[in-house]
Symmetry: C2
Subunit: 482 residues, 2 copies
Amino acid sequence: MTSETEEKALRYRRAQSVSKAEEITEQEKRVRKLQLDKPIHTPRDSLFSWSSEFNNFTGLVNWGFLMLSVGGVRLGLENFLKYGLRVNPFEWFIVLTGYNEGTSSQYPSFILIVFSIVPIVISLLIEKGIAVDFLPEKFGVGLQIFNMFFLVSLPVVVLNFKGNDFSFVGITSVCMLYLIIFLKLWSYTQTNFWCRSGLKKKYLDNKLRRQSLSAPNWKSKEDLINDSPAAAKLTKYPDNLNLKDLFYFMLAPTLCYELNYPRTDRIRKRFVIKRLLELIFGVNLVLALFQQWMIPTIINSVDTFAKMDPIRITERLLKLAVPNHLLWLCFFYLTFHSFLNLMAELLQFADRKFYGDWWNANNISTFWNSWNMPVHMWAVRHVYKPITGLGYTKFFAGIVVFAISALFHEYLVSVPLQMFRIWAFLGMMAQPPLAIISRHAEVRLGPRWGNIMVWSSLILGQPLAIMMYFHDYAMLHFKPVQ
Amino acid sequence: MTSETEEKALRYRRAQSVSKAEEITEQEKRVRKLQLDKPIHTPRDSLFSWSSEFNNFTGLVNWGFLMLSVGGVRLGLENFLKYGLRVNPFEWFIVLTGYNEGTSSQYPSFILIVFSIVPIVISLLIEKGIAVDFLPEKFGVGLQIFNMFFLVSLPVVVLNFKGNDFSFVGITSVCMLYLIIFLKLWSYTQTNFWCRSGLKKKYLDNKLRRQSLSAPNWKSKEDLINDSPAAAKLTKYPDNLNLKDLFYFMLAPTLCYELNYPRTDRIRKRFVIKRLLELIFGVNLVLALFQQWMIPTIINSVDTFAKMDPIRITERLLKLAVPNHLLWLCFFYLTFHSFLNLMAELLQFADRKFYGDWWNANNISTFWNSWNMPVHMWAVRHVYKPITGLGYTKFFAGIVVFAISALFHEYLVSVPLQMFRIWAFLGMMAQPPLAIISRHAEVRLGPRWGNIMVWSSLILGQPLAIMMYFHDYAMLHFKPVQ
């Protein structure tokens, strides 16, 4: 007998024995049903036993969100009972404008915001100068770079001389605005440079081809497409170099300059009103949460941080993590959905991809590539691609992007606090190694654990950085009594 | 032209215009790609805009559980910092045994637990008496009912005379045990009654048939099946009336008496050890959580409840809801999975369905039908079906089941607290109306909202009832200083 027939015989015998066993239980069942004691028990496993193979726990999702709500409502009530109502719109006014009876009423933040128009106009003049051959190109680009660095240094210098006149919110807004203008002017300069290089290259190419073909009117495929009606509507270099175009770019919700943006047909009034209401309601909510929840928690933590007791610091950190994270979520929605969509609708700007679905990100790189699309697109177009274009590796280009991003984060924190530490820089530079770890977690443990790592670093990493700065700031300004 | 051809023409024109529009955008895209400014923007919607039709928020589930963990760990740390380590195994010993230097060292709970054997044996003697025609059936059943009510009244009477000798945990255990024995004896009496009626009916039937057929050895189909080898192995009335059978039923993890339970082939040692370890670890965890978390919270609430301030009471209630719910979940797992499976494995009892998947229940009836299967099966077999069998409606039978269940809950709470209130009874009687409301929620708003209602009533309803009793208990024993 071959092994195959043996196997067949074995399978047949097994099938028979199974059906026999089933027959017995069937008969037993019938016999049991006829018993007079109305039996109801049958052999079966508990659901939590592995052998039951039961795995439907969908109800636990609702349980989780309900427990979260119960905890949230209780926290709110406890806060209210402990601190009373701390929300005070008049205080917002003082914080936002920096108006205070004690200081000279000069509003330096406002002056700096208006002054930002000057470097913008200078940038346009330099580009115009290059375009009409008034300035040599290399010298012009050098001037542009000088102009941009003058721009970002201005708040630092002004703060050094007139620091006491600034409110914290005022100087933070100025730094943010100046940084955005810096990134926009970088894009403006580089894009105009690409246009000039492209035109030169095309001119030389066509000249060479016409000479070699001895056809004075020879046109490339690209030239033919560019003569189409669709192309005729597009603005071409150097027609773009005017104030209207530059100010549209400055207001548009993007950091990447283009000569022809995709536009929408009309402004939807209902859409504008919805975004506006979201902004008004949301900003008030954020300020109220900040006054009622964040500030008392931070003030309560000063002593703890002076004493450096690790258990108490962990408790404070976790306590701060919840309101901080909720405020960050509100801030994200208000900035990236409400505000940028409002600006885009008013300017009929059609590209609304201001954020990807970072909440589903399975590793930290995906998160950084999708939570802030304007900066991501800028970094890819103006840093990453130019560097890889020069022949460097993608890994190196990625590290450069993170380093530049880290510098900007440090700038946004250190300048307003007037305190140069490197916590923000280190926090950003910890992201590439974390990205590698989270990528491993995703591959080894499954996408769910990658996503959990992303959320953890978001919920815990931010308050950790805030606490670092707060500790140093408290040590500097309110020294503990010895 | 018929309307059909018109429609066709319209559809054709529409299709053409669509393809034309697509053609234009295709050409525009190609033209844009060839521009020198490396454009990257394309018209697209933000993900949160309705028009984007994006709805993948799976990452938020991980977010929810992470926020819950952060809150949990912080609460634990805060509790530890506030109260220090309260876990004290020696105190458990005092609470569990009722041992205390001040009281007479008599252990009345222990004596009552051992005494429970007496009514069990009496019940067997009565059944035996009926079976051998020593007692008339009606008188015997009357004796059984008297015996059962004597059983449940015993703790109440003893407590009335020797109340100070009992620990709270001790008297609760006694009440629980006596109630379980009550339910088991009910099932024992009723099942034996069914067997007797069934035998009588069969005997009369067969006699009639044999007379009419004039075939003295005539056997019904049922009789033939009962002569099969499968039936021969089964115990039949009145062979079941012995001590071994009754004590097996008393120890078995079921409230429903049967003459022949489904049995397993062997005792799995690994399974027993796992359940035993779960029990040892779990009971210690529950006691630790109780000492560390529940007791300080309850003690802190006395003053609040005396003052009857609704906001503060809500805050206390929500604060109590979290540990209470977690303790209940631990208790559920330890009782219904670890303990009952351990007993079943040791007794080779094969039916392990001690609970259904109540965590997915979409309405409150489903929850009550699946969280406690031994009681559910008992209620269906011994209350619901007999009542519907008498011709009453299902609705009426359901209400009776809930009323009996409510009485038992009240018994388990009022007797140990020595304080007759009706909060537990009212809480249980609120379940049928709640079931109707949750059923509406399930149908109108979808199953997810039904499930949320089930969890809410579980998380908030329990601490509400506890608080009611606690308020009355505190008012009675520690009167607030006026």
